[in-house]
């Protein structure tokens, strides 16, 4: 970005940061940033050259080689577990696929190492892709189980399919590669090669969270349902994460095979997968540095803990429990928290933020949403029982009804969290009854939740940027455009000065506003608000009412669920009343709120009789 203009106009907020944990933190002044990068490069180069500076025994070189190759696989765990929050108990399998591709490729098929390496990465990535595609829709416990099963089957095949894999004896005599006539037969040279690969992997894993995909991954980790509804194709992003993780596992394994010249099924069993998992957790799963730190510690630790002898592994198991209890963010997370304490967030210049563009031209007189005989049944319960409804463009349409009358269920059917049992939903003339939530977000349907669903361990602005990056959002593609859009949305709800704060540290009322900003950043033409006033105090409610009125002026259609009748009467154009999943009244507020059936539904039959 250039600052050539002489005017003292504030520069728009920068888009990237020096901090891998919190990518949206404003950039330090350029000179300091350059200084840091140079320092980092110098340190990294020195570390890489240690074997050439000091005389190290072959044993120590082996340990370093193990650490470097394992660390690449562990960085895969950072992506899948740390960023995306998906468990993977089969990383040793992908590591093994890379190793066997190089082992069998070079020894049996006589392939060139580099070709075998590419093959290994390809096979590992493909395995991860297929496994992810078939099982990631289940998630959670299932994923743990499936990955373990995959790991077990892999080991059975390695041991028993001896015609191809050479069985329990393993593959020996794996040669070192050469490059431009240079052979990496010297351990030091090969270690340098591994280090270069490791640095490349670290750079990639460090860079990833700041990208659209990386932000989507973290949103999934924080709240998968909200991520999907905000417009992220969660299955696709999870499969990408799994594939990347597998590919990194494959690279690590391929380098391992050539480094140690010998591989056997024991190198790639379940306990190795657990070891990778422990490494990433100990170091800190949410940053590239953490993974490498954890790997180095757990490989060097056994050397220091020799005195524990046979009980070493028992202590190791105990350590896993203790890490989970006392070090949930790992060692790097702890260091990071310490460092962040001394960091002052750069103030956001609110006057420089552009006004949020929310305008939706209302020219078409047809309803934006029409429901035809919509039904949602849970077993025998008819939560939504044949609703036919039209919502006109540019209006605030409110859904009211007693508790359990099916309001939230209806919203969930409208944005695709639930599949309709019957009937159909037409949005902007298109039948969307069978589309997924993120596809509906892509059409311009925004949503907030009754029990706030934000991404607590991401900053306010990142939360809102996730909303801005929905498909078809007319705001431009670059990170800068997303950031500006998010800032404008925050300014609209009067939260811009909190942009850099972590969402989990915000009070309740502010979280509500951030959730609305997240929806608005996506430039929705249709906004579903589920009890936005719940839990707000009187002042906050008043502000919300004004906000809703401001929205109306832009041609945006709002579909609102609300219990606060004062607010409802103030903002609504049309009210629909539900009871027991059925529509019992509809019309203008003045008419509906005095309708005898509505009063009966709210106050009971006696009230009706007395009225």
């Amino acid at each position: 970005m250039t600052n050539v203009s002489a005017s003292n106009k504030p520069v728009p907020a920068p888009e990237r940061s020096t901090n891998p944990l919190d990518p949206t933190r404003p950039r330090a002044p350029n000179r300091r940033r350059a200084g840091r990068i140079i320092a980092l490069i110098v340190i990294a180069t020195l570390i890489a050259l240690i074997p050439f500076i000091f005389k190290l025994s072959p044993y120590v070189l082996n340990i370093f080689m193990q650490a470097a190759t394992y660390a690449i696989a562990v960085l895969g765990m950072t992506v899948v577990l740390g960023y995306t929050g998906q468990i993977n108990l089969a990383q040793a399998t992908f590591f093994g696929l890379g190793a066997y591709a190089v082992g069998l490729g070079t020894v049996v098929l006589g392939l060139n190492f580099w070709l075998a390496l590419v093959m290994g990465i390809g096979v590992a990535a493909l395995a991860g892709f297929v496994l992810g595609l078939t099982t990631l829709r289940l998630g959670g416990h299932y994923l743990a189980m499936i990955t373990i099963s995959f790991q077990q089957i892999f080991n059975l095949v390695l041991v028993n399919w001896s015609g191809v894999t050479q069985g329990p004896d393993g593959v020996s005599g794996i040669a070192r590669p050469s490059l431009f006539g240079l052979r990496f037969s010297d351990d030091r040279a090969y270690l340098l090669l591994c280090t270069v690969f490791l640095y490349a992997a670290m750079y990639f894993v460090w860079w990833l969270p700041q990208t659209r995909t990386g932000r989507a991954m973290r949103a999934i980790r924080e709240n998968e349902l909200a991520a999907e509804v905000t417009g992220i194709d969660t299955l696709r992003v999870k499969v990408i994460a799994f594939t990347l993780s597998s590919a990194l596992g494959g690279i690590g394994g391929a380098l391992f095979a050539s480094g140690f010249a010998y591989i056997s099924p024991d190198n790639f069993d379940f306990s190795r997968s657990v070891e990778f998992l422990t490494m990433v957790l100990l170091g800190g799963a949410q940053s590239a540095f953490g993974g490498v730190l954890g790997t180095s510690l757990l490989i060097v630790l056994p050397e220091w803990l020799r005195f524990l002898k046979e009980i070493y592994l028992a202590v190791y198991g105990l350590a896993v429990i203790l890490i989970m209890v006392f070090l949930p963010t790992g060692i790097w997370g702890l260091i990071r928290a310490r460092l962040d304490r001394y960091k002052k967030p750069t103030p956001v210049d609110i006057s420089a933020i552009a006004t949020l563009d929310l305008d939706i031209p209302v020219t078409d007189p047809s309803p934006i949403l029409s429901l035809e005989n919509l039904e949602k049944h849970f077993g025998g319960v008819k939560a939504v029982d044949g609703i036919t409804l039209e919502v006109m463009r540019g209006t605030v349409h409110t859904l009211i009804g007693p508790n359990g009358s099916g309001k939230t269920t209806m919203l969930n059917v409208l944005n695709g969290i639930y599949k309709a049992t019957g009937g159909n939903i037409k949005f902007d003339g298109v039948d969307i009854t069978h589309t997924k939530p993120h596809e509906r977000a892509g059409l311009g349907i925004g949503r907030t939740f009754q029990n706030i669903r934000l991404f607590p361990l991401m900053s306010v602005i990142e939360n809102v940027m996730v909303g801005a990056q929905r498909a078809n959002n007319p705001v431009g593609d670059g990170q800068l455009a997303l950031r500006e859009r998010a800032l404008s949305a925050l300014k609209f709800v009067d939260m811009a000065d909190h942009a850099e704060r972590m969402v989990k540290n915000l009070p309740y009322g502010h979280q509500r506003l951030v959730e609305i900003a997240r929806a608005l950043a996506g430039h929705p033409s249709f906004l579903l608000l589920d009890e936005p006033a719940a839990g707000l105090n009187q002042t906050e409610k008043q502000k919300l009412g004004e906000l809703l009125k401001r929205l109306k002026g832009h041609g945006l259609t709002v579909f609102l669920i609300e219990h606060d009748i004062g607010l409802v009467e103030q903002v609504s154009d049309t009210i629909t009343v539900l009871n027991f999943g059925k529509k019992i009244a509809e019309g203008e507020p003045a008419y509906v709120l005095r309708h005898p059936d509505v009063m009966a539904a709210y106050l009971g039959e006696t009230a009706h009789a007395n009225a």
Partner: protein, 293 residues
Amino acid sequence: MGFLVNNVQVLFAGLALGSIYALVALGFVLIVRATNVVNFAQGDFAMLGGFAMVAFLSGGLPYWLSFVLALVVLGIFGIIFALGVYYPLRHRSFLPVIISTLGASIFMQNTALYIFGPQPRAMDRIFKTQGIEVGGVFMDTQYLAILGFTAIAVAFQYILFERTLLGKKLQATSQDKDMARLVGIPVASMIAFTFIYSAVLGGLAGALVSPILFVSIGMGSIIALKAFAAAIIGGFGDIRGAIIGGLLLGLVESFGAQYISVAYKDAFAFLLLFVFLLFRPQGIFGEKISEKA
């Protein structure tokens, strides 16, 4: 005729094996229901049951006393497990808890390795006679014992859960902890009881299967994996599902080993699991999985 006899024999062995999976799966499902925790150390309860019996028997105690004492030891261990592994993490998401139980599994196996050494231990069978023959079908007495004890355990559990006040409290706890607490059920005790009971079930499975499989530190892992697969196949969190899934898996495994491949016998369970996850992820008895907004 020989074909039929042979198949009946395989069926019998499959049911016995399946019963072991069912017992471990049952303990696993009970913990899932009470705490929403997937306990990856469930199989190691079986391993501990086996080693506890070996220890008591080699100490010269009579068989049945050793059997009962082993179950008591496992019960005590269940409390320790609940306090050490579950309790500190009870308010966290499922991921840290899963990982913590994995750590517990490593800890238990390696502590057993330290105490008992790497050699698998043989254990006496419950009955002296090797087997009885009925209509040409040879029936191993240990298999009969496994089937018998499993039937008793299932019946006991049914009565406990459906016919006693304690059972009602346990069910209430698993359905809604906050509500249970409001009506005065001591939720923490109920959860502790669930861990004790699950550990005892695991120990029972270990004590029963040890004469067939030998007692080794790795025996728990493979049983646990099959039991998890059984629980998912039956319908995650469903008690009937755990039993039916376990039996089904035992049958698939023994018929697979008989007719397809002995080397890949452990893979059949996982392949069956994959098939279920692809085409019926909710399992045999399970409800559709969905999250509430």
